[in-house]
Symmetry: C2
Subunit: 236 residues, 2 copies
Amino acid sequence: MPAVRASAGKEKATTDDGGTPGGAKRRRAGRPSAAVLDLAGITQAALDLIGNKGYDGLTMAALARTLDVAPSALYNHVESKHDVLVLVEDHLMSLVDVSGFESGPWEDAVRTWAWSYRDAFAAHTPLIPVIAVLPVTDAPRTLLMYEVVSTGFRDAGIPEARIVPAIVALESFIFGSAYDVTAPADIFDSGNMAGSTPGFTAAVRSLAEEQHERPADVAFSLGLEALIAGIGALRG
Amino acid sequence: MPAVRASAGKEKATTDDGGTPGGAKRRRAGRPSAAVLDLAGITQAALDLIGNKGYDGLTMAALARTLDVAPSALYNHVESKHDVLVLVEDHLMSLVDVSGFESGPWEDAVRTWAWSYRDAFAAHTPLIPVIAVLPVTDAPRTLLMYEVVSTGFRDAGIPEARIVPAIVALESFIFGSAYDVTAPADIFDSGNMAGSTPGFTAAVRSLAEEQHERPADVAFSLGLEALIAGIGALRG
DNA sequence: TCCACTAAATGAATGCCATTCATTTATAGC
DNA sequence: GCTATAAATGAATGGCATTCATTTAGTGGA
């Protein structure tokens, strides 16, 4: 297991390989002297690809091209594309802000955590089906987050047996809300059916008249505050 | 547009087509006298397929085989596989119980609605990314559900401009909770990392000791009651 | 020091998938 | 009756994740 760092990115092969100026095939078959791939590099390349082309653009072939390897080379490091998604997931989880649990009121800590959690995954909704059923063992940083949050809940006085249900309830709300962020602005436009759904149409219009920049934020805030209040009431 | 009902299912072609006893090719090219496909039949076949083989088994080819047509025939009725998912989604939405909004306390109506909504989609989580961003115009029964629910919220005294955010918040929670139902029982087993996450591990054990049949129900109940209380407090 | 094993790359399949298109046949509207 | 359209077949098409045989390089033990 070489200690070589190989995740820097897509440096052009400059010195060796003087052939084919068009940038065609570069590496001959067989194990290279320095490892080309590692998990950190694969993760970063996947994130770049997602950022540029979205999740539709995240294919094993495209990932391989970004990393300048053959697609099959990836399978020396991950078992499947699902593994790549888990790598990305665990990376994103480190962007979730748990700092509030170190000090200050529990309510503020939950707010900071929940908003940053939702924002981290709003641009990565295809990961939600992955996270939602992912054994925590497979994602060390995710597990770390749970440790900090559950300790924060315990310190705030949430009864031991309610800590996990409370976190799960909040997470469920966060996952669903992440989808909501990505919904089209006119998702509730009932179009030519408006006549047959007057009650709903009126409610949609009433919200629209408030001219919120992001309607999803109104719903998220409403639900989050309700959950914080309800869970906070469990404290002994 | 023929009024022919053709959705009964997979009757064996008995009278005509006396050829190939192995059950090979059955229908010659060209438009058949009676329509073979319609949207109701496609929807039912998709539901059958999902029930038997899960969403992995729902392919256009498998769907065509179930309906005894060529795959390309489906495209005379739907534009894409996404359309098939929308058909299934709108059908499932009719299983959601909104009857409580007709009479009785608002809280009970929301409870009935939310539990049935979660249960309807727990076995259909691959539809959640579809629903969550689906314009309501594309799903008439879904729109109908919104009409009943929003009217119930208005009658209960929820301020007009909070009706949609309240429904969205509840739905977000329901979608996330539907995933939670499908999570493996040992999802929170921290395995060999348990030593480094004592707080979380203790919280998981404490819940496990309560021996709930479905831990997901504990979290769902906790979150739902908090949301009902918080939203109910908006009533004027 | 040599040798066997393993790790890490290539490149050529493989099989599945959604979708498209040309073609054929039947029906419906004018 | 003619024509446009609807609804089927069957044969592509291109993309996808994944596998496998092969090649080369490093590593650990005798």
